[in-house]
């Protein structure tokens, strides 16, 4: 078991190796749902919740599969768990906030194919984190995802009012913005201790 302390794991996942801006996981919702701040916040929250649930479940599944010597089934089991967790969140949001359900639209079921969620499950297995470490890692990753989404949404709301050259309108401008954000996040390197 690695001797990483819990705050180090959290900072590493949230800032230094931010899932979106340093590891390129979850780019689709990052570019897709980041046009309004409140939608971005809710999307971040939903993803964070899915991450926590699937991280806990993935830990249990990994124990079971390792005990049974069935590691090659890991990928299939993880994706099934994530799909179920997303379904759960979807039902919950549909029941308690239909307006939010509509505003998230297609991106809610697409959390299943958000590579940040599956990536989290795979990384925590590769890093051999124990249960508490996994949960903290999920919290950091989800928080980092939310932070990146909120920052991007804030920038894009300002961008609505700016006149950008016609060549760089749309996706090109968003990518350039994301590049600058990513550059800014590189400033956190060294904060969380060892790289990885």
């Amino acid at each position: 078991m690695p001797a990483e302390s819990l705050p180090t794991i959290f900072l590493n996942a949230a800032l230094v190796n931010n899932f979106v801006l340093a590891m390129f996981l979850g780019i689709c919702p990052f570019l897709g749902v980041s046009s309004k701040k409140d939608t971005a916040f809710n999307m971040g929250l939903a993803t964070l919740f899915v991450m926590l649930v699937s991280s806990a479940a993935a830990y249990g599944i990994d124990l079971l599969l390792t005990a049974l010597d069935l590691e090659f089934l890991r990928l299939i089991c993880y994706i099934a768990v994530i799909a179920s967790a997303v379904q759960l969140v979807e039902m919950f949001i549909k029941k308690y906030s239909p307006a939010l359900f509509r505003s998230l639209g297609i991106f809610l079921p697409l959390i299943t194919t958000n590579c940040a969620v599956l990536g989290l499950a795979l990384f925590q297995t590769a890093k051999e984190y124990d249960f508490v470490q996994s949960l903290v890692y999920a919290l950091g990753a989800g928080g980092g995802f939310m932070l990146a989404l909120m920052l991007m949404a804030g920038l894009r709301e300002k961008l609505e009012l700016a006149r950008v050259p016609s060549v760089s309108q749309g996706a090109a401008m968003s990518l350039m913005l994301a590049g600058l954000l990513s550059l800014a996040f590189m400033g956190f390197a060294g904060l969380g201790g060892s790289h990885g």
Binding site: L21, A22, M23, F24, L25, G26, I27, C28, L31, F72, L75, I76, I79, A80, A83, V86, Q87, E90, P109, L110, T112, T113, N114, C115, L118, G119, L122, F123, A126, S166, V167, S168, Q169, G170, A171, A172, M173, S174, L175, M176, A178, G179, L180, S182, L183, M186
Partner: protein, 236 residues
């Protein structure tokens, strides 16, 4: 999920559903070329962005990733196309995911056996092919409705289009950041690499630059057609 909102129809019954002949398309050159260029998964439909940005810091990584994805795309497309009349509508997404995950596991072990170096470079992104939206998108939009041969051709076109896009990023980033192409140095030993290009921000910048180039080309074409139609309007 999407299937929960669709009204339950006869497709939920066990056994083969009626074949929808009217929605099947014939095999044309367009079947192949559409995925390669007109509907290029990265530049046009903006799918599969995560591997596009993450593993394109060198041309060889881009090529490895592109070809692995193409393989999964073609093989899973073929299986889904063959099983399209037997998969019940309500559980189709789950079935596709399981099929895709199976082939990704095979690719994962295959790359590990063939080249440990490439395996280390691509890291978790090989396993993350499972959640590449391009594959699920093709499965849902094409393979689940079409016969085997068009599916194979279309998947191959899309896969090669994806590989092309990855290579166009990978080569630019490797040349700028490392001064080499496919590991062969281009500029001699005193070349100072533009380091940021092989670091994460470089991925965003290079893809953004490609998008700008395509925007520019599109705008120029639009202006020209507008200008030429304006001339004919005056003449007439």
């Amino acid at each position: 999920m999407a299937e929960s909102s669709t009204p339950t129809s006869s497709a939920g019954k066990s056994g083969p559903a009626p074949i929808l002949f009217d929605r099947e398309e014939n095999l044309t050159a367009d079947t192949f070329l559409r995925g390669l260029w007109k509907e290029n998964p990265v530049f046009v439909t903006m799918l599969g962005m995560c591997p596009t940005l993450a593993v394109t810091n060198s041309a060889i990584n881009a090529l490895g990733m592109g070809l692995s994805t193409t393989f999964v795309l073609v093989v899973s497309g073929a299986l889904i196309s063959l099983l399209r009349n037997w998969i019940p509508k309500q559980v189709r997404i789950a079935s596709y995911i399981v099929i895709i995950a199976t082939f990704v596991t095979i690719v994962d072990y295959l790359i590990q056996a063939v080249s440990l170096e490439l395996y280390a470079a691509l890291g978790a992104f090989i396993q993350l092919i499972v959640v590449n939206c391009i594959i699920l998108g093709r499965a849902e939009a094409y393979a689940s409705k079409q016969r085997l041969v068009p599916t194979l051709v279309n998947s191959l076109g899309t896969g090669l289009g994806f590989t092309l896009a990855l290579l166009s990023l990978g080569t630019v980033r490797e040349i700028l950041g490392n001064g080499s192409i496919l590991g062969i140095p281009l500029f001699g030993s005193d070349f100072q690499g533009w380091l940021v290009m092989i670091l994460p921000p470089g991925g965003f910048f290079v893809l953004g630059a490609w998008m700008m180039l395509f925007n520019w080309l599109r705008l120029r074409k639009e202006r020209r057609t507008a200008a030429s139609s304006g001339v004919t309007a005056h003449a007439g």
